[in-house]
């Protein structure tokens, strides 16, 4: 994809949230970059849940999101003629990524 198109895309930074351990919610602020937006009102949604709606000239530069799983952050034009999305991923600190096995080692028989 040309660099110009990349610059014009809707993006969120960072796109990955790191939680302490599996099952924990992960809260972070993401900085948003918008493509040129026609004059209209736009909404941000997280997994289709509305975060808010603003006129194109007052879109927030950052939003605070709470992730329980990999989530989709979307920019939606109120007239529904435009939509762009980014995926926000969730990761856990390496030590906590380990989980107990259901069965004990060497217990096949």
């Amino acid at each position: 994809m040309p660099a110009e198109a990349e610059d014009d895309a809707f993006s969120a930074t960072p796109s990955e949230c790191i939680a302490a351990e599996q099952g924990d919610e992960c809260v972070m602020s993401v900085t948003l970059h918008y493509p040129p937006l026609p004059n209209d009102r736009y909404c941000l949604t997280l997994n289709s849940e509305p975060l808010g709606c603003w006129p194109h000239s007052a879109m927030p530069g950052t939003v605070k999101v709470t992730l329980k799983e990999e989530s989709e952050l979307s920019l939606v034009r109120e007239s529904n003629t435009y939509q762009a999305s980014v995926i926000l991923t969730l990761r856990y600190r390496s030590a906590s990524m380990l989980r107990r096995r259901v069965k004990n080692p060497w217990s096949l028989f």
Partner: protein
């Protein structure tokens, strides 16, 4: 008497160590990864049935794969959710072990090659009424060689695990999705892990209720098994208890000492059967393990 003694030993051992953190040991695994290992040593599981072959334990594989939710772990496949540090739940399916007592061709025996007579030292049942080369006289006993075959069954069930930093309590219930015995079982199990110097221990105690249909399918005797109605037996449900101890001492990144003992009582619903000659199942193994 045997189980209280083993319980006391485990309690004594569990008081002499530190908690076993779930970090880089064989009992823990990262999502989307495999654990493959093989242990070679000596051991066996006794067979409580008349003429039943003890199951030798010479080679123990350790095969586990965990995805984000799905898993396969030593013969059990399942799907976990509510993956929290303190509680997990899962649906699981696996082969029912009951049938393994009736056949030499248990999966355990496919990867092992052991002279049955040598294994008998560990736990051969009595075989009344047999005599080499003679035509059989009317018998007042019955063995697994005389009865109609029992089918393999699968367990499909639901389990909840409560995890402490060094303990695990789990409750499970499983039925018979293939409709072989049409029964079910329910199990409550407690496990305590600790570490003493380089040795890692896991002691467990469990109580298992097995329904009448499950026990009767495998250990009941009727006209399909023998014409001698004196031997017919309609089995009742059974309450079985079990205690065990696992030990593991890493020798290097890949090698470790591996050992385990387990003792289970069988319950009167099973032991009252003429097919059953022992009221317990014991197993033990000690050897070297290699984790790839």
């Amino acid at each position: 008497m045997r189980i209280p003694l083993l319980c006391c030993l485990m309690l004594w051992l569990s008081g002499h160590g530190t908690a076993w953190a779930c970090e880089s040991d064989d009992a823990c695994i990262a999502p989307n990864s495999w654990k493959l290992g093989i242990a070679v040593g000596i051991g066996a599981r006794t067979n409580p049935l008349v003429d039943g072959d003890p199951i030798p334990l010479v080679v123990l594989p350790d095969v586990a794969w965990y995805g984000e939710n799905a898993y396969f772990d030593n013969g059990e496949a399942g799907y976990q959710w509510l993956l929290r540090s303190d509680i997990t739940t899962e649906l699981f399916v696996r082969a029912n072990r009951e049938r393994s007592y009736f056949a030499f061709w248990h999966p355990a025996n496919i990867v092992l090659s052991v002279n049955t007579s040598a294994a008998d030292v560990i736990g051969s049942p009595l075989q009344p009424g047999d005599s080499d080369g003679e035509s059989p006289a009317p018998r007042d006993s019955i063995s697994i060689n005389d009865i109609s075959s029992r089918k393999w069954a699968a367990d499909a069930g639901f389990r909840v695990n409560w995890n402490g930093s060094d303990s695990l309590l789990s409750a499970a219930i499983a039925g018979d999705p293939l409709g072989v015995h049409q029964g079910y079982y329910a199990q409550l199990k407690y496990q305590y892990r600790w570490q003493w110097e380089d040795w890692r221990f896991a002691a467990n105690a469990s109580v298992t209720y097995k329904s009448e249909k499950l026990i009767d399918y495998y250990y009941g005797i009727d006209g399909e098994d023998t014409a001698n109605s004196n031997l017919w037996y309609a089995a009742d449900h059974a309450l079985q208890t079990s205690v065990g101890l696992l030990l593991n001492k890493p020798l290097s990144k890949h090698w470790r000492w591996v050992g385990r003992v387990q003792l289970s009582t069988l319950g009167s619903g099973m032991t009252d059967s003429p097919l059953v000659s022992k009221d317990y199942v014991a197993s033990g193994f000690i050897g070297f393990g290699y984790q790839f």
